[in-house]
Symmetry: C2
Subunit: 353 residues, 2 copies
Amino acid sequence: MLKGNMAKKSVCIVGSGNWGSAIAKILGKNVQGSDIFEEKILMYMYEENVNGRKLTEIVNTEHENVKYLPGVKIPENVVAVPEVCEACTGADILVFVLPHQFVRTTCQKMVGSIKKNAIAISLIKGFAITDSGIQLISSIISEILGIECAVMMGANLAVEVASEQFCESTIGSKNEVTGRLLKQLFQTPYFRCTVVEDANTVESCGALKNVVGIGAGIVDGLGYGDNTKAAVIRLGLMEMIKFCEIFTTGSKTETFFESCGVADLVATCHGGRNRMLGEAVVKSDKTIRELEKEILRGQSFQGPLVAKEIYEILEKKNMLQRFPLFVTVHKICKRELEPSNFIDCLREHPEHM
Amino acid sequence: MLKGNMAKKSVCIVGSGNWGSAIAKILGKNVQGSDIFEEKILMYMYEENVNGRKLTEIVNTEHENVKYLPGVKIPENVVAVPEVCEACTGADILVFVLPHQFVRTTCQKMVGSIKKNAIAISLIKGFAITDSGIQLISSIISEILGIECAVMMGANLAVEVASEQFCESTIGSKNEVTGRLLKQLFQTPYFRCTVVEDANTVESCGALKNVVGIGAGIVDGLGYGDNTKAAVIRLGLMEMIKFCEIFTTGSKTETFFESCGVADLVATCHGGRNRMLGEAVVKSDKTIRELEKEILRGQSFQGPLVAKEIYEILEKKNMLQRFPLFVTVHKICKRELEPSNFIDCLREHPEHM
């Protein structure tokens, strides 16, 4: 236990959607009566009107995010705040759990309002793409705010976590002390955390798995059984490993055995949204955008975006033929290739040579 | 290609159940017109009466194993033979695909009838247990017959393979030349083989995954979702890795990324018989033996047997607390522990320390 005469650390949650609200439930409860963490947690919430009332007001009176995680009580010591600067002022630990397109602008607003020695942890799945390769969301946060940023990823479907079903998660932190502190903040008897140093791989897994998830949905849509799906999961995993070897620094194979790796991939390929998308791509000839409107009421699927970004890097680096699964998922999403061709693209996979 | 002036190699399949018949379909087709393999394959079939006719006779006239793999044509160049010595005489490659309780007696009958330089490959899932640890089925074959024995394991549900659904399999062969030869024998456009040297791990995976499969069925039966199942799969995989590290020689972590490892485990935990058993154990209070009668009409489930064997070794070596998942599955199968306690036994898993 980290105790002693240190001041207690205060926590701010930046974001309050489905996953953010499930995490608020965990953190709110964990800090109660803690020697290490302040009991009051501020949660930045993008203000919305829900049936004529402000969402922050609903959360602060009814202690439930009725829009994004209905039916789940958020502890009363978590207070929703509609201004990000107000929320983050004085916080020692910033938990980022926003849709990834809002990270940059949100961080820019926060500059000047955060403590110098604050630390961040990103629960955000996705990449940014630069000319030379990928940029991790954690490094965007780190760069803009000038602070250290760890990550947490795992087989963590929000609704199941909120209902306290046993699961695991992986914290990636290059700094061991930070990793231990964050484990104390997040771990509960039903939410088990392991800490690894290889944070870049942990974070990359969170983005890449959604591409494989689409592939799993495609084979479901085509009517294949468990053998074929297992092959897609394995070949996808091998491409994830190879991608990380090439594009992230110091990637370790063992990290793929953590919850962020194989476990999250398996959960995504059986119960994730991107799997659902893959199946829909086979069963209709609508575009991804139309399917997004239909299935997610306008929110975006993560997988096709990551697939496109990966495709562009691989094309630039002349590496397309080393990643047939990633490439084929992208082409099927773009409707450049029929879904029925998916398996043919895997028969001569480099793993079989 | 292995060609030249070598004599063609003749193949014998020892066993002809569900998986044996699916393999007969693959091999029978693959050897047709081959430069390397003899076109005629003898398949040892334990003689049975089916509606007043001999099963070998039905297979040899109708080219279908109506009892164990109905609806699938076996190529005509595969000939069923009811005497194992007749089947194996002159064979260069012996493909073992029997229920594992018959391996020893069958091999003993074959002694004296096989070619001196024959090679074997075992597709059999299971262990034998000795005082000092585990004995692999391949080593029993090797010992009794005095020949080299490779193995093949993977995410290969027989019915799906027989219907030519794309899948992968792993050949484990300590001898590289043998491995290449066997790949040529088994691989088809829909059945993709990789070859690894770490044969002991490949074979151990085939036995151990069924224990984890029961665990996956238990969480299904208890009503948990994809997060929990993913955690069980991952923790099971970690115990498989640790078990192999301790009990097999030269086990390599990479082998678990092959089809025999993560892929077969995922398929088993979603579509396997032992998963079904785990679910049934939660939903009824019958004994394993009663459930076998009910679900498998008297055949035995592999998982409980392996779980018991593992338990005994671990107890002897004072290692029970390092394998909580394996141990708990065994105790639940023995009805010494309520299935509802399964998750509690995983909360303080060594992986979370």
